[in-house]
Structure formats: C-alpha cells, structure tokens
Amino acid sequence: MLQFITAILTSLSAGAIYALMSTALVLVWRSTRVINFAQAGQAVLTTYIGYEITIRTGSYWYGLIAAILSGALIGAIIDRFFMRPIFKRIKSGPIVMIAPVVATLGLLGIIQAIIGFIWGLNYQTLAAPVSTDGYKIANTVIAFSPYNLMVLLSVTITMVLLTVLFQKTNIGLALRASAYSPEIAKLSGIKVDAVRTLGWAIAGAASGLAGMLYIPNSYLYPNGMDVLLVFGFIAAVIGGLDSLFGAVAGAMILGFAINFVATYISYKLVFPTAFVILILVLLVKPGGLFSSSKGRKD
C-alpha cells in the first residue's frame, strides 16, 4: 500500500515538472510553430544564473526570481534576435519546417557550450529552500516533503495564471490570435511580432521556473535538463501541441506511466514506456489527445 502511495506521490511531483517544460514548449509552438529544443539550454542557463544569485545573496527566493526574470529576458532576446532573422531569410520551401528546429538545436549546443566555458562541466548542487524530508503521517514517512508541496503549488499557480492570461485578458487574446491567424491579427491592429516575442518570454520564464524547481532534486550541469526536454516534448506531443491543458495532461500521464512502470515492472523500461504511450496516443489521435479537430493542418 505504501508503495502505491509513494508511486502516486512521486508521479505527481515528476509530472508537475514535466508540465512546466511541456507548457514552455507548447507556448513557443503556438506562437511560432517551432519546436524549441533550446528550451532545455535556456532552462539550465537561467538556473545557473539563479544558482549564482542564490549563492551570493544566501537566499533561494532571490535566485528564483532572478531565474524567472532572466528566463523571460533570454527568451525574448532569442526570439527577437535569432528566430526572427531566420524566419525572414527562410520563407519558402519545406526547409521552413526544418530550419527553425535545426536552428534551435544549434542554439542548444551553443548555450551548453557557453555554460561549459563559464561554469565548467562539474556537477553543482542547489539546496532547496524548504525541507526535503518527507512528511510523517501516522508514524510512516511518505515520499512527499514540504519541497514537493512547494513544487506542486508553484506549478498549479503558474498554470492558473497562464490560463487566466490566455482566456481572460486582451493580451491573451492577442497571443492566441497571432498564433492562430497572424494576418487577421495584424489587420486588427495587433503587433504580431511583439506578441510573438512575448510568447517566447513567457515560455522562457516558465522553463526558468522549471529549472529552479527541478535542480534541488537533481544536479546542475550543462546537460542537466536534457532528459527533461525529451520528456517535456513527448508530454506536449501526447497532449496535443496546440493545447496548454494538453501540455499539463500529457505531462501527468507521462509522469504516472513512467513512475508506475518503473516501480512495478522494471526501471529499464522508463524510456520504452514513454515511446509506447506516445505511439498509442498518436495512433488513435494523430494530433495529440486534446488537439482541436478543426485546426491548422501542418
């Protein structure tokens, strides 16, 4: 019984982090129709920045704020000065599909290399701001600590904020319109380019948050979030790249599947499980679970 509860709790924690990554990827996809592989690099970079601030100020919270803000800034810079020139140059042909993806791959490599230049390749650790010891319930310690609770709450609040932003505000409307139909949006007076940059900024902030929440449970090094990127991407695809809700749902499904398979069957099946879930979902719904049936065909 305890094992079952543990599996559920750890799945929730894992799923929450995946949700942040998949949300970031979906945000970029919706605004730019690009799979941003560099998201992992951005996340690690902003976490290093957060790490430095934490060490110098002695407070995790300052580091967290720094990570979120720098994440937004870096995301915006990447869109404005990197992605936009690429889109200007590549207007026609199927290269349109590949070039941005490949460009973000290249960007990932550059970011990781820069991190290696500045901070070296050693593993760093970041201490959590609250206790990581599990709560004690009826004399048993469960696999859920104050820190896990903090992660879950942060992710939930972020999701709620994002949903409110997108559904209830004018900016949110602008974001959705620019993604869905840039020409019409432009005609309505929306500055599509600026709005797109905003999308990248929000995504960058989300991945910055993901990094700071993830690293205390793991180790900080240039490739530290590569696996997270892969799982975040798979989660986003499972949920349907067009849907924020899908991103979260996909992340939870993936998190639960992986943890349960690992706990009850074998740890060796972690990656194959991800693949099987993905292909099962896509066989039934090629656009992901929560994709809208009417929508742009890519």
Partner: protein, 323 residues
C-alpha cells in the same frame, strides 16, 4: 533518349568517383583511411535523412535508432547465423527497411512535430531495449567482425584500407541507387508529398503508402550505415547510438543542403573533420578545462546555425549565386 543519357551520365560520375576514391585510398596513411571510412558511413547516413526529409518532407529525429536496428541485425547475422559479412550488411539494410516500413505505416498520419516527437522517443528508447534481451548482448553488445582483408591483396593491405574500401563501396553503390530513385517517378512522387500533400492526394497519389515507402527506403539506407558503423568499431552496443547521433546527422544534412544528394560526401567530411579541427584548435588555444571541453560542441553548433542562416538550401546555393 534524354532520360537514358542522364542516367548513364550519373553512372559514369559515380564510377569515376569510385576510381578516385580507390586512388586516394592507396595514397594516404592508415588514419586517413580510417577517417575516410567514417566519412563514407556518415555520408550514407546523411543520404538517408536527405531522402526522407529533403525529398519526402518528413522530419525524423530517430535515425540513430534505425541505424541501431541495422547494426544489430548485421551483427547477429555474422555471429549467430554465421553468414558472410557482405550478406550481413545486406541483411542490415533489409531488416532496418522492414522496421522502417512498419514505423512508416504507423506514422503516416503524423505530421511535422508529431512525427519528430515519435522518432525522438524511438531514438531514446530503442537502445535501452537492447539491454532487455541477452541475445542482443546487453550493455556489452555483440562483436562485429568484418574479417581481415582477403589474402590475395597481399600483406601490405591494412585493415583500415579494407574498412575504407568496404565502407566507400557500400556507400557509393547505395547512394547511386538512391540517386536513380530520386530521379525516377518515385522522386517526383516524394517531392509532391513534400511540397503539397493535398495536391498530391488530388493527383491520385496514395499519400500514406508513399510516405511509408519513403520511410522504409530511408530506414534501409540508415540500417546499412549502422552496419558500417559497427564494422568500424568492431562491435555493436547500445551506447554507440546515442540521441546525439541523430542530431549530428541532421546537422550534416542541413549543412550540406537537405534537398540534394550531391552534397552528402561533404556532409560526411564535415561530421568527421569538424570535431578533429575543434580538438586541435582547443589544444592549441588552451584555456580552462571547461573551455577546451566545450569548444568542439560550440564549433559544431555555430556551424549549424551559420549554415541555417546563410545557406538553408545548401552550399550549392552560394555557388548558384555566383553564376
């Protein structure tokens, strides 16, 4: 008449290239022969990506897994079925091709990023499956011995030269076949799929089936490349096919022009030469540990970004501008 002479011209070009490689192979040192073998292997792998992405418009991030399938099939043929190495390489291509066909059928309905995601998941999960079955040798892997060069070539014929010959010949033949394929009716069908699926459908093309065919052929080629790779490292193991290999192949394809098979050799050269150059720059410039270690990755990524920015259609574009 027109078509026949174009085909023949191509055949002639390939034969010429083959002789040139033979000549070069005789004149260079063992290290260059070994590197040359890698170049040929990478060129072949890049060709498989160009076929799939440049010609039929499907993006795959999982070609490392397809190479692995071919590699294991080849290794098992030699070790368990005791077949001749050349037959093993053919089996490598066939098995990978069949695997690709199944995958292609399953993925035919998927577009752009969804296909990319699926192939990505395949790339990370397939190597770990090798651990599950003892017949696949687990993490240790299986030996792949292409054997020593035939004795009639004499004492001086080094193992590396043999690698170079086998690798280059296999790559040359396969790329010639591919070249014929893309210049045939199939090539036009694939390009139609790439450019406008709806129009292709209206023109009567069975989109799903053709996409699967493209995937199958691409996988077969990748499988052969995988067989060549493990020949060069004398054994196959899961860690020989990391996700980064898929990304490298994509890099090579973009850098040399993803639309055209002509650049593949250049792509292979880039994949082999750039890490070497980066290494030597790193050791010459010195600097902190972090710097020298991260430098090769930085150079490769920078090259990729420059290529995407300035020659998204391949270096041929630069040449075209000059004419």
């Amino acid at each position: 008449m027109h078509k026949i002479s174009a085909n023949r011209k191509r055949l002639l070009a390939f034969i010429l290239l083959g002789w040139a490689l033979l000549f070069i192979g005789d004149r260079v040192g063992e290290l260059q022969q070994y590197q040359g073998a890698f170049v040929a292997m990478y060129a072949l792998a890049i060709a498989s990506i160009i076929l799939l992405t440049g010609y039929s418009g499907q993006l795959s991030l999982g070609h490392s897994a397809l190479m692995a399938v071919g590699a294991y099939a080849g290794a098992l043929s030699i070790n368990n079925l005791k077949l001749h190495p050349v037959i093993a390489l053919i089996i490598a291509a066939l098995v990978a091709g069949i695997f690709g066909l199944i995958l292609g059928i399953a993925a035919a309905r998927l577009s752009g990023p969804y296909l990319a995601g699926t192939t990505l998941a395949l790339a990370i999960s397939l190597p770990t499956i090798a651990n599950q079955f003892t017949i696949l040798g687990g993490e240790q892997g299986i030996l792949f011995d292409i054997g020593t060069p035939p004795t009639r070539f004499g004492e001086e014929f080094s193992q590396y030269k043999w690698f170079f010959w086998v690798s280059s010949l296999a790559a040359l033949i396969m790329i010639w076949l591919l070249s014929n394929l893309v210049h045939s009716k199939y090539g036009r069908v694939f390009r139609a799929l790439r450019d406008n699926q709806t129009a292709a459908q209206l023109a009567g093309i069975n989109v799903g089936r053709q996409k699967a065919v493209a995937f199958a052929v691409s996988s077969g080629v990748a499988g052969l490349a995988g067989g060549l790779l493990v020949m060069l490292i004398s054994g196959v193991s899961p860690s020989a096919f990391p996700l980064s290999l898929s990304f490298s192949l994509l890099t090579g394809a973009v850098v040399t022009g993803v639309y055209d098979l002509k650049g593949v050799m250049l792509g292979g050269l880039v994949l082999v030469a750039i890490p070497e150059i980066a290494d030597s720059i790193g050791s010459r410039v010195g600097g902190s540990d972090g710097f020298t270690m991260a430098l090769p990755g930085f150079l490769v990524s920078a090259l990729l970004i420059l290529a995407v920015l300035f020659t998204p259609n391949g270096p041929g574009q630069l040449l075209k501008k000059k004419m």
